[in-house]
Symmetry: none
DNA sequence: AATGAATGAGCCTTCATTCAT
DNA sequence: GATGAATGAAGGCTCATTCAT
């Protein structure tokens, strides 16, 4: 593969990342992508075979990018508490959604978030397995915060509560901005959001030390878990 | 408008709701829809004018459906506490995402969630304003739980944390199922999830009565937890 | 045929006349027509069989209308001179293009002019033959003005010159208005135009008493027919 | 742009010119055009963007073609008389309606004549302005022939009489042929027609040196002819 | 008799893809 | 190797027509 070939290929991936992030797989067109990359319409098929293969490549590179940033933020030191771990995890997940110096618009995170939110037939098993791996990391962090008394299902639900808070800000910030126009933008916003989500979640998790109340525990009867009773009689 | 016309029209709306929920506006085709409705491709144009008008109708009916279910769950009684209000709100938002006896697959909620998550040019002002109205309701519930000392921005961030946990389960359950295959399905799951999200959020919110820690407040200091605990024990 | 049926049928013809005059056969739609007539889309097919049959009916009625007006203007009295005959013929042809008290927009004339200008497959033989009959009338008038020395072909060419001047103002006045925005409008305009065309043509015809110059007579050489020489040496 | 691309493009324009000339913009289909050009239906979109852009290109090329022929015929020499100018103008206008060695069927002229006769929304301002320019040229020729005593409105009416005679032979010869099946065809016919129209018009114009008779001047008085004759003999 | 409902053919257009160079 | 040219499938939409009542 020649040098120029590689350059064009990289430009195509970069352009495709943006277009897929903005419009999704189906709505993105290879004309948009090749035009943005300054390349020929046939270049996508030439370099990648077809549109879906290009998408796979974008997915792969975005995943690598995010994982690189992520792992550097989530390598748990022995000294860190669960709260700090969670703070690092949240920020590592959140930052790609908002972008950083090398991904100003959070394209990589948005591409992945789209894929997570909407199941695509192109979803590769490696992506699926790695997502599950991420879930395990989060499970571990949650477990540290809630202790061993809590059952696994509750841990997972807590993990989903945290993921929900994070993914709410994808596939693009416009989502949140519609609900809350005052949403702070830029890198400051990421730290603020990470702080908030961490605080919100830590506060909750620290009260999950007891067993889960039975289902429908909030429905009008007051004899459920005592802690709960205290809570909603306040 | 005759009887048969209304029947066909309703079938088209029903089919379109499913197809739009599954594939989104852009990817859905009127051929899919009309075939599913047992009608001709031209029937969409005949009954609604064009594809977008049909989509608007689907949006409208889904909104009405959800609001009807929702309002019956969110009418706040004088005796209810904030926690019960939140429980009702969460379940009312969550239920349409999972479906009920009249919407087994949660199509209405999924159609709306798609629209909320990805801004569509067809987004009508009435939908936008009503989304904002919902946000205000949630703000009120949060405010009841956190008290008056908390600033408005924090209230909104808490609202977004709650919405994030809810919308995580849209546009389809496959999202969560990918992360957590053990996710309970069906109506039981809704109650369980609503209980969890409510509990998770109430626990968190009740610790938010104090001022927000300064940004990066979790970075290195260990006494925040204690201050929070103190608050909680009030 | 019931009374109401006839009413609807007449309204359809009236509406169709307008729409066909404005848009032509192909571009006119039966929805436009039936809506303008306050009738059902199926009414056209019910009353006339298909779109083309409706068009035939419009053509027929427009032709009858124009012929009625025309014949009343072209019945040559023994006392009339050729110039007066021509004036009557021109006005009778021109007036339907501009409309009169019963056809304010000249719809009948415009429908026919469209048909004359563009050959339609639906062109019935009766229309063709009657057009030819009109041509014979005009031939007669021209012959009166030019005398017997002029050959038949020249007579026909003169007839076409006159018809061209008239049909120039069809299928709608907008044609002429584009060239000459100052074109007088309304009934006054018809008289003025008829006067002009008659004057223009009579002046020309009165000089056609001699034989036609040979072809290319105007190309640089001056030794053609003497009368001609006189003309262009002036 | 490669060689082959230009070939296909030219074939499309050629095919479109024929189809548009025969059927008009609305009735022409790109399937007809592309099939006639030996190309795919998508080729029109590829080379021109859409049907209307192709039409604009046809209009432009037809206009250029006609103008090239026209200008070579209408460059007025100092020595030429008004009659020769008119002869050149008429032939230059008429020839494209009948075709020449490079446009056997007069497609270019017929396309333009359609556009002139029926206002299309796609009518470009340049075409409109150039039509008006042509009208000015004709006005000048007429003015030379009638002298300065004649008012401007009469000059314009005379111009329209001449244009009417010319455009009578468009959009296709079938028009005239219907009236006068003996109409000579081919290039010989053009010269004959140009001679006739010129002669007819020059004869008329040379009698227009006096003031216009008052409106309805032909109604009932018999002495107008004499007055006209007097004018002519001046 | 008369009409609202429904249809299928055909339109223009878009698009990922393939071809020829 | 790389690209401009070309294509066929499919999309939304329009329309005259037919169907069922």
């Amino acid at each position: 593969m020649s040098h120029q070939s590689q350059v064009t290929r990289d430009q195509l991936v970069a352009a495709a990342t943006r277009v897929f992030a903005d419009h999704g797989f189906k709505s993105a067109t290879i004309r948009q992508i090749s035009h943005l990359a300054g390349a020929n319409v046939a270049s996508v098929n030439y370099h990648f075979g077809d549109k879906e293969a290009l998408y796979q490549e974008v997915l792969k590179q975005s995943f690598d990018y995010v994982m690189t940033r992520h792992s550097s933020g989530t390598e748990r030191t022995g000294a860190s508490t669960g709260a700090l771990d969670l703070r690092a995890f949240v920020e590592a997940m959140l930052r790609p959604l908002f972008g950083d110096e090398a991904d100003l618009d959070g394209l990589h995170g948005r591409v992945l978030a789209r894929e997570v939110i909407e199941p695509a037939p192109a979803m590769e098993s490696w992506l699926r397995s790695l997502i599950e791996k991420q879930a395990c990391v989060l499970d571990g962090i949650v477990r540290d915060l809630v202790g061993q008394q809590v059952d696994d299902q509750t841990v997972r639900l807590c993990g989903m509560s945290i993921m929900g808070q994070i993914l709410f800000y994808s596939p693009c910030r416009a989502v949140a901005a519609r609900f809350y126009p005052e949403l702070p933008a830029g890198a400051i916003g990421v730290e603020l959001l990470a702080d908030h989500i961490t605080r919100f979640s830590v506060e909750a998790l620290q009260r999950f030390t007891g067993p889960a109340p039975r289902a429908s525990g909030f429905e009008g009867r007051g004899d459920s878990e005592e802690a709960e009773t205290a809570v909603h009689l306040l």
